[in-house]
């Protein structure tokens, strides 16, 4: 299977390119939205959580931002990924190709989008005066890769299940919102009561967000345990994703 997907790498490449080019088609600001959108979200969250609901986290805007951008990638994979196969219905019904190509392309294009947003992240980090550890920066691609693996697993599950159960698309809107607040993004882990903290660690995004923060907010090298936990959960989700997808893909063409 992996060999076959590798043979279709050009298809993944062109689907990603098409998606990125088509994403902001017709809008006046076009590709600039990739940068403006996260900035505007940052402003909203920052207003709510540092001006209205005050907290004592230093440089809250940065604390929030380095977690928000990876979160947007995750949430896009979860919700947008769920409709990725349905939206390619014509292709699935008419042509053979490894079906995995669709979620892979979707997640990859969201990933590229996140990388582009990191241009803004880097600017904000420099502006804040945080000087990241060089070794920490080397860890950054590893964290990103782990997140990619996790997102891919998620998208494979949601995309395949949504074909059979269309409500999932709408349910995921709520799940994604709840998930965001169950991840320490607008708050810090120690604000969560101790006895509930264990639940934060079942959540794979907790350790991923912690990893990004270690590097870009604290300017340190992420702990091996943080990375390990994230990687383990990522691989588990991908394995589940492959399993579910493999089971369900055979009847896509009939269900669509």
């Amino acid at each position: 299977m992996f060999k076959e997907i590798y043979n279709y790498r050009q298809m993944i490449f062109s689907m990603v390119r098409k998606d990125l080019r088509g994403r902001y088609k017709g809008s006046v600001l076009g590709f600039l939205w990739t940068f403006i959108n996260p900035l505007l979200q940052l402003i909203v969250y920052n207003m709510v959580f540092s001006i209205i609901l005050r907290n004592n986290i230093e440089k809250f805007y940065l604390y929030l931002f380095v977690a928000l951008i990876p979160w947007i990638f995750f949430s896009a994979s979860l919700t947008g990924g769920s409709v990725s196969i349905i939206s390619q219905k014509d292709l699935v019904k008419k042509i053979y190709f490894p079906r995995e190509v669709i979620p892979i392309s979707y997640v990859t294009s969201s990933f590229v989008n996140m990388l582009l947003s990191f241009v803004v992240v880097v600017a904000v980090v420099l502006f804040s005066g945080v000087r990241p550890d060089p070794l920490g920066i080397l860890c950054l691609p590893v964290i990103m890769l782990v997140e990619y693996v996790l997102c891919l697993g998620m998208a494979m599950i949601t995309s395949a299940v949504t074909v059979y159960f269309r409500d999932l698309e709408h349910i995921l809107g709520i799940i994604s919102m709840a998930w965001m607040y169950l991840t320490p993004i607008v708050y810090s882990e120690d604000m969560c009561p101790e006895r509930y903290r264990v639940f934060l660690h079942i959540n794979p995004m907790t350790s991923i967000v912690a990893g990004y923060r270690d590097v870009l907010y604290w300017g340190t090298v992420p702990k091996l345990s943080t990375l390990g936990e994230a990687a383990l959960l990522g691989v588990v989700f991908l394995a589940i994703g492959c399993l579910v997808f493999g089971r369900l893909k055979k009847h896509f063409a009939e269900e669509l």
């Binding site: 043979n7 279709y8 790498r9 050009q10 298809m11 490449f13 062109s14 689907m15 098409k18 080019r21 088509g22 088609k25 014509d90 292709l91 699935v92 019904k93 008419k94 042509i95 053979y96 190709f97 059979y164 159960f165 269309r166 409500d167 055979k250 009847h251 063409a253 009939e254 269900e255």
Partner: protein, 421 residues
């Protein structure tokens, strides 16, 4: 037969679809309307086995819904069988959908890459084929324009060029030759024959039997999920047409209802609906001959053709009249005439013979036409009237419109425009 000479092997394949009476795939519908989720299993393919050898060109025929397209989709692995196995050796290219994944804002060139990548080609492989693809599409001047500026004909040309240049070992085609203008169809057709000559295995699903006859050396007739007949097209197609004709008649009979049942009491067979007469003479064989003198009912508009018929005489027919009527698929009577209208001298027929109706210029524009042939006696007594005795399919090399091509020239009075004709 050694296993490496087999291109496609289908073993005991069964495929059934759930046909929902009223399908709902959302939660509300699933819970609230539990009863509506009733479905019946419709067996589309029932324990089918067949083997296709490398380099063979096979046509799948059958009426709508007989399962031939499903079989093709199983071969491409879009669908999976419920029981049995399908093995396909080599790279498969399917022409089930042309222009899949085309993006209107991207240039023709970029779309070639996108579209070819869906067939599993790598960038390097596409680079190698790029020139061939562009040349075949005849879109050299427009290749860097966005596809949305293309006419639908140009669009199809580009899409077909990509699909056909994949260089697959196995090519699966579904009604593909019905797209594009007739001119490009002819080109696609020639390309298909070239591909076949190269040793590619081809499987075609088509309703146009004449197309299958021209490309394929084997025809498989699928009827109600089973293989009804498997052999050379010349044997399979008449049997298929025969059954189709009977089914059509049965349907007509049903539409007309009771009235006909009474008629049928007279003992006349079902054929009476498309053929009648006193039987003194009978047309035994009909053929359409193209300009090259070959039996072929696909004729270019403007080219010569002829309709040949053999007839058998049982009893002498006095004051015989032979007639021909040409009808377009929608029922329009395009032309009709007979030997009397044309002013031929009065004659009788005593002995069996044959007749060729020569048409120096085929005027009917691209489309399907049925031909009625008739022998009459005296003033309109039918001896043998055969409705739909044969079919003529015409294709055009330009875009003129209407029912028939009427010869014409353009003459301007302005001397500067003298050269325009």
């Amino acid at each position: 037969m050694s296993s490496d000479s087999v291109a496609i092997s289908v073993k005991n394949v069964t495929k059934q679809f759930k046909v929902f009476f009223d399908k709902g795939s959302s939660l509300k519908e699933k819970v609230l309307f539990r009863k509506r989720n009733r479905y019946e299993n419709r067996v589309v393919l029932d324990d089918i086995s067949l083997e296709i050898t490398k380099g063979e060109a096979v046509g799948l025929v059958g009426h709508n819904g007989c399962g031939k397209s499903t079989l093709l989709k199983l071969m491409t692995r879009i669908l999976y069988p419920d029981k049995g196995t399908i093995e396909v050796n080599g790279r498969v290219s399917s022409l089930l959908e042309l222009g899949a994944g085309f993006h209107p804002d991207m240039s023709g060139r970029e779309n070639i890459y996108t579209n070819a990548s869906i067939f599993g080609l790598t960038k390097k492989e596409i680079d190698e084929r790029l020139d061939d693809i562009i040349a075949f599409s005849e879109l050299e001047e427009f290749i860097d324009n966005p596809v949305r500026t293309y006419s639908s004909g140009m669009y199809m040309r580009l899409a077909f060029s990509v699909a056909i240049n994949v260089d697959a070992d196995v090519l699966l085609v579904d009604e593909i030759l019905a797209v594009g203008d007739a001119n490009f169809q002819a080109k696609c057709f020639a390309k298909m024959q070239e591909i076949k000559a190269r040793g590619t295995t081809i499987v075609i699903v088509s309703h146009s039997l004449s197309q299958i006859e021209q490309i394929c050396d084997r025809s498989i007739w699928i009827h109600d999920g089973k293989i009804q007949m498997d052999g050379i097209p010349r044997d399979v197609h008449p049997a298929y047409m025969d059954l189709m004709g009977k089914m059509r008649k049965a349907q007509l009979a049903k539409e007309r209802g009771e009235e006909l049942e009474e008629d049928d009491d007279s003992g006349k067979d079902e054929e009476a609906k498309t053929r009648w007469g006193n039987g003194d003479a009978r047309i035994t064989r009909v053929a359409v001959i193209d300009e090259n003198g070959k039996e072929n009912n696909v004729i270019r508009v403007g080219a010569a053709c002829s309709v040949r018929l053999d007839y058998e005489v049982k009893n002498k027919v006095t004051d015989a009249v032979f007639g021909i009527g040409i009808f377009r698929a929608d029922g329009l009577n395009v032309y009709g005439s007979n030997t009397r209208i044309d002013g031929c001298r009065v004659f009788d027929i005593n002995e069996s013979g044959s007749l060729s109706i020569e048409i120096p210029v085929t005027a009917m524009l691209a489309g399907r036409y049925t031909v009625d042939l008739a022998i009459e006696s005296g003033h309109g007594l039918p001896v043998d009237y055969w409705k739909g005795a044969c079919e003529i399919e015409t294709y055009s090399n330009n875009g003129d419109v209407g029912a028939c091509r009427i010869g014409h020239e353009w003459h301007f009075s302005d001397p500067a425009l003298k050269d325009i004709r």
